[in-house]
């Protein structure tokens, strides 16, 4: 097969995939008797045309950046970490334990401690599947799926039987103390000129942006990153070059789980202020779509996370203002995963064909 020019591979392939997903989504909306154009207008107005909408869009964006980076780091090591959901929920447990353990004097210190707690718990939950993959050869996709379910059972148990304060009915931890409350964007001088009212997006957004940069630095500017990528490209070659497969698998998965866990500072610490059941609300899975859409590059992830944040907030607005159910956003997300992740060969073949039409034909034998 002919190769595509690099710009087409990086920019055009995801855009065309997205276009396919959008067309199919529009057909779905038509099929349930609604107007896709109207739906798009509601989504854009609700997610992008007000400070309030942006507050939610950026809140979702923050969560998705963390879970997508988790997928990215594992993916570069040739591992498909499908367990972001469980790791994020365990990260939430870490945040809750840290926030409730000590009377934190200031949110900055609490945030540092919570980031550590979240990353440690997320990494710990990824450690077992990683070890099983590295040492015993069990397929990481299957083990991480199993660990998602085990995590949710564990959290249900802990919230119902252990962490729930006496006298409280719903399965959740106690509220975190006021001092652990993260400033939301409307609390920040300068930004409060735009975000005039209370929004859920909070300082975790900046942690997420820093994480993007750090992951890029790690993967493309450090020896460890080189080893991870080499291992992902060819395990045999990496092993021959003296890269320890067990070590790389463990390190990549620990970083991945840690990143997924860190998502909890946004939703558990920044927004809810307590740990509830199913706190991650599927963000672990959306991370897969975001990572695929972002071509497994931190910068791409940032763009794709904003896109999915828009999709999520817009989808919620659809549920509020139209009779299109909120589940539409799950369909769109599935279609995006399908086209960007599984059918990219099809898109690429089509583009190669289209490019071939415009290429001047070479005469004679090359």
């Amino acid at each position: 097969m002919d190769r595509l020019p690099r710009w087409a591979d990086v920019v055009l392939v995801p855009l065309v995939s997205l276009l396919f997903a959008a067309i199919l989504s529009a057909l779905v909306i038509l099929a349930i008797g609604q107007d896709p154009w109207e739906a798009l207008k509601v989504m854009v107005e609700g997610a992008l045309l007000s400070a309030y909408g942006w507050g939610y869009t950026l809140y979702y964006t923050t969560s998705f950046i963390f879970t997508a980076l988790a997928v990215v780091v594992a993916f570069h090591a040739g591992l498909f970490n499908i367990g972001g959901e469980g790791q994020a929920q365990l990260g939430g447990l870490g945040v809750a334990l840290v926030c409730l353990a000590l009377p934190w004097p200031h949110w900055t210190i609490a945030l540092l401690a919570a980031v550590t707690g979240a990353a440690l718990f997320g990494a710990a939950w990824a450690a077992i599947p990683a070890w099983l993959q590295a040492k015993r050869g069990s397929h990481i996709v299957i083990t991480t799926i199993m660990f998602n379910y085990i995590a949710s059972a564990l959290i249900v148990y802990l919230l119902v039987d252990v962490l729930r304060p006496t006298g409280q009915m719903d399965p959740a931890t106690a509220r975190f103390p006021e001092t652990t409350h993260l400033p939301t964007l409307n609390d920040i001088p300068g930004l409060n000129l735009f975000f005039e009212k209370k929004v859920p997006a909070n300082v975790s957004l900046f942690v997420a942006l820093a994480a993007c940069w750090l992951v890029w630095l790690l993967l493309w500017r450090t020896p460890l990153g080189y080893q991870i990528r080499a291992f992902g490209k060819s395990q045999a070659a990496a092993r021959y070059a003296g890269i320890n497969p067990v070590k790389i698998t463990m390190i990549a998965m620990l970083i991945s789980g840690g990143l997924a866990g860190m998502m909890a500072i946004n939703n558990v610490m920044g927004e809810a202020g307590r740990l509830v059941q199913n706190s991650s609300e599927g963000a672990g899975f959306i991370g897969i779509a975001v990572a695929l859409m972002g071509r497994n590059h931190p910068f791409g992830v940032l763009l794709a996370a904003v896109l999915f944040g828009f999709l999520y907030q817009g989808g919620a607005e659809l549920g509020l203002w139209t009779s299109i159910p909120i589940e539409l956003r799950i369909v769109v997300q599935g279609l995006v995963i399908l086209f960007t992740g599984a059918l990219d060969m099809m898109v690429r073949m089509m583009l190669v064909w289209v490019f071939g039409l415009f290429r001047p034909r070479r005469v004679g034998v090359a």
Binding site: V28, I32, G33, F80, I82, I128, L132, R136, G137, S138, H139, V141, I142, T143, I145, M146, F147, Y149, I150, A153, L154, V156, Y157, V160, D161, F285, I288, L292, S323, I324, P325, E327, L328, R329, I330, V331, V332, Q333, G334, L335, I337, L338, G341, A342, L343, D344, M345, M346, M349
Partner: protein, 322 residues
């Protein structure tokens, strides 16, 4: 625990195990042919929605079943085109289809019925009703066997018995027919099958479509026999438990049956924590029972309870040499 309680448990085990058996055997065909399928959950969900809807409109559970199979087949076909024709990543395709299924079922049910994403309750012939086997009353006075026959073996919908038939049939197809031999071969070494002049793509497509049909049965059973109608996310992770059972059974039909019944038994126990408490004399939290199938599967995968070795060519798209 007395005998009557045990029989009740076994009765629910069969009920809850049936969708797992269908889905597990469905996965068996696909994975034996070398196509990983983590989309069992999505196909079941689509089938449940289609069968619930059509059974409601037609008043016939059989039409519901056909619709369920059709719906599941569409998803199976997409998975086949993605992973066989376009050599896409089978795992990602499965994840994607699960998402699409989870959303589109609620979307459809909501726009058709407007009842919060569920179908109206099915009654009468729109459900697969319980069948009483012959001689139940005659055998009932016989100690031990009589109640067992009456309570556990008799009194299920026809699909429960069909599930057992499917297991037997699958064993026969897989190990006693030419198609079965080729199917097993294509999952281990597609190049050899190709060299022998048999179409790898054809075999794999046939396996993926059988998977679709069986997931259709699983979903239709959920919506028209186990429960009366489709409800949002009603499969509740059963597709993944079936996948777990498949690994537990090391991709073999009869062990798959036992694994599904075991996991069905755990689900039955999770519904009756009082029995568990009475037997082990310790309060076992329900989530622990819920998580048991997954924990067991992880242990099997880790090789602590016998090694599970998947079909060797699983997950790898086959590229014909030129």
């Amino acid at each position: 625990m007395d005998y009557a309680t045990l029989l009740q448990l076994l009765d629910s085990t069969l009920r809850l195990g049936t969708p797992l058996i269908f889905a597990c055997i469905a996965g068996l065909y696909s994975e034996r042919s070398g196509i990983f399928d983590i989309g069992l959950e999505g196909k079941m969900l689509v089938a449940a929605m289609c069968s619930g809807t059509f059974a409601f409109y037609s008043g016939s559970a059989w039409i519901g079943l056909m619709a369920g199979i059709a719906g599941s087949l569409v998803f199976a076909l997409i998975h086949g085109v993605t992973s066989i024709t376009f050599r896409g990543n089978q795992l990602i395709s499965g994840v994607a289809l699960n998402f699409v299924a989870s959303g589109i079922t609620v979307l459809t049910a909501q726009s058709l019925f407007g009842q919060g994403g569920r179908t109206p309750p099915l009654t009468g012939a729109a459900r697969f009703n319980e069948i009483t086997l012959p001689f139940v009353e005659a055998l009932r006075p016989v100690p031990v066997i009589g109640p067992l026959y009456a309570e556990v073996i008799s009194g299920h919908s026809i699909l429960v018995y069909a599930a057992f038939a499917v297991v037997a049939l699958t064993w026969w197809v897989l190990f006693r027919t030419r198609y079965g031999l080729r199917l097993r071969a294509v999952g281990e070494n597609p190049a050899a099958v190709d060299t022998a002049g048999v179409s790898v793509k054809g075999l794999r497509f046939s396996a993926v479509l059988i998977t679709g049909v069986l997931c259709g049965f699983a979903g239709a059973y959920m919506a028209t026999a186990l429960q009366a109608g489709f409800g949002k996310e009603m499969t509740a992770g059963r597709g993944y438990i079936a996948l777990a059972a498949l690994i537990f059974a090391k991709w073999r039909p009869w062990p798959a049956l036992w694994a599904c019944l075991l996991f069905g038994f755990f689900q039955a126990l999770a519904l009756r924590p009082d029995i568990v408490e009475a037997v082990v004399r310790v309060k076992v939290p329900v989530p622990a029972l819920d998580a048991l199938p997954y924990i067991l599967t992880v242990l099997v995968l880790a090789g602590f309870v016998g090694k599970a070795i998947p079909p060797r060519a699983g997950g790898e798209p086959y590229v014909k040499e030129r």
